[in-house]
Subunit: 190 residues, 2 copies
Amino acid sequence: MKLLEARIQQDGKVRGTEVLKVDRFLNHQIDVKLLQEIGQEFQRLFGDCGVTKILTIEASGIGIACVTAQYFGVPVIFAKKNKTKNIAGDVYTSKVESFTHGQVYDIIVSKEFLHPEDRVLLIDDFLANGSALQGLIHLVRASGAELVGAGICIEKAFQPGGDLIRGMGVRVESLARVARMSEAGGVEFC
Amino acid sequence: MKLLEARIQQDGKVRGTEVLKVDRFLNHQIDVKLLQEIGQEFQRLFGDCGVTKILTIEASGIGIACVTAQYFGVPVIFAKKNKTKNIAGDVYTSKVESFTHGQVYDIIVSKEFLHPEDRVLLIDDFLANGSALQGLIHLVRASGAELVGAGICIEKAFQPGGDLIRGMGVRVESLARVARMSEAGGVEFC
């Protein structure tokens, strides 16, 4: 998606060779008009798949998922990172290792919201090592729902997540795929 | 807002006398069509205030803020609850005590995204004790930006947050105001 690549070139910031900050438009400040373009692109890619639910993970996936869901006419579910007293009862759970925070945490989705008859599209901002996406896939499979695929805004294609998830037989559509990056050389796309 | 009140009556779950679970449509599964109605209502209330930024707090405020921001044509900023290695540099920070989790945490917003010339609308799902909203107000005031007001989906009017925030001179518009609630009696609105 040329619009997203151009925005990454313009406003993204590379830290070292592995961290790409997109705080200006995607996961701290959010350009909602850009999200609308992203949502329409996901609808173009997955619109004929009979999606009934969009599943994402807090926090930065939520805005992308909600704007995207408007074009599908389906609800969003966001997996929660910590069990709070406001979620009781039966949940599907999975472990995720955070690339950003360097820690392992549980994600949960209430069993009330995922059913065998659902067709689920995963949405997230980044695909790097694939741990968050693996966790979401595990939740969907535990529920018996059909996994339609994953719509990712930015894939760091030099990290193993994309190959890993595609190797699991999951359709992954990434709107911008970073081949390599550096502070001096900037971002190069696949 | 009658539509939201009706949805709370239909799908909300009261736990004890203080916890109102709206996991079915607002903060675990999200009914995006309902968010569109909510966003249009906030636009009706604050549309003439010259809003330049919508500020919310992760996680459950993000979807509401992003859908609402479409009707204002402005970006969303979400305050983050933990400092990660992906946010470096100068930030505004404030302490928040979570009603749901029973703990104190820091919230931060990068100084890059709030400026004295901004006119900021706060958006959140709940107003209970007002701690999260106070934290956001502190961030806005620290930046020198103008605080236009706060758009809240559900105010638990039997808790002190609403009076507290209005007493600070902040315009608060709550779409559903709960007067009292109980597991046996359900939810009564103001």
